[in-house]
Symmetry: C2
Subunit: 152 residues, 2 copies
DNA sequence: GCTTATAATGAAAAAGATTTTCAATAGTAA
DNA sequence: TTACTATTGAAAATCTTTTTCATTATAAGC
């Protein structure tokens, strides 16, 4: 499932004339597997472990490329707004653990009524919406906030 | 109404030991009146017209102070995440014009059912949520995207 | 009104994040 | 194997934000 995603992303990169290089393999694999949003610095730190010569610039460039292909999406959080996670299929929303950062997707189909109400009250024509929920994931609830398990 | 807000903010600043200075009067007045979110640069540019010696540093410091008093709140948008607008009363959400940036508030009471569903499906304990709608305000619909009227 | 303590200011420097430039490297097609 | 050129990392440049610090100015006490 995740492995397929890695292959699909690499295929999509190649399909638009991009070359498959060492840095890209590593970065695609990390991003396709990540269960939380990573910013350029975090991504660089993780990827450097397996590819020590990796430059931060290549991380920025790869993120830009993957985002323009809609393979990853930017995630806004109170403390960081330049983090990326795999883009979801269809119209989904994010549920983020405010402790460990783990991300899950959910659909928000029941939003239509609210959108129509707001359109009528405001006179705006609504074109898009952002919905994100923040909370504690099951693991962090169990830990009762004693420790945080980050990427490893 | 807006004038009251200016007075209230100044009072709140004074109440916590802050001094009322030229830069603060200007910045409070602009922020309390603004109908769209402003980032430090925009705010500095606008305020400088009335207070030419104003330093950008004071803008940062005042924003920080006002945010810590919950008088303003940060607004996340696709292109800018460091913009601020007056904080609303109670639990409200934002409706932003994707053309001119004008902001309106609305309540999203009908969100409770969705939150409970997601909690059950995910096992997360939801603590907070962000909901923002993007669209065209009535004025920008009328202009049909011919021109953008920014702050003036 | 005058004095005084100190919060607030702006300039400059420092720190961080992101983008640009450029010569060297390395995919990929022929 | 060769040739083309996309990609790379280092360094420089650009922006944004924070820190430092001497100076200024608010507000309280007299």
């Amino acid at each position: 499932m995740i492995e397929e995603r890695v292959q699909e992303w690499l295929g999509r990169l190649q399909a638009c004339g991009c070359r498959l290089t060492g840095p890209r393999y590593i970065l695609v694999e990390i991003l396709a597997r990540a269960d939380r949003a990573l910013n350029p610095q975090e991504l660089h730190a993780i990827a450097s472990q397996r590819y020590p010569s990796l430059g931060l610039v290549s991380v920025y460039r790869t993120l830009e490329r993957l985002e323009s292909l809609h393979l990853i999406q930017r995630v806004h959080q109170p403390d960081k707004c330049q983090a990326y996670i795999a883009a979801f299929d269809g119209h989904q929303h994010l549920l983020l653990c405010s402790q460990c950062g783990r991300v899950r997707f959910f659909d928000g189909d029941e939003l239509g009524g609210l959108v129509r109400r707001v359109e009528q009250e405001s006179g705006y024509r609504v074109e898009d919406h952002w919905l994100q929920l923040f909370g504690l994931c099951d693991q962090c609830q169990a830990l009762q906030g004693n420790e945080v398990v980050l990427y490893e």
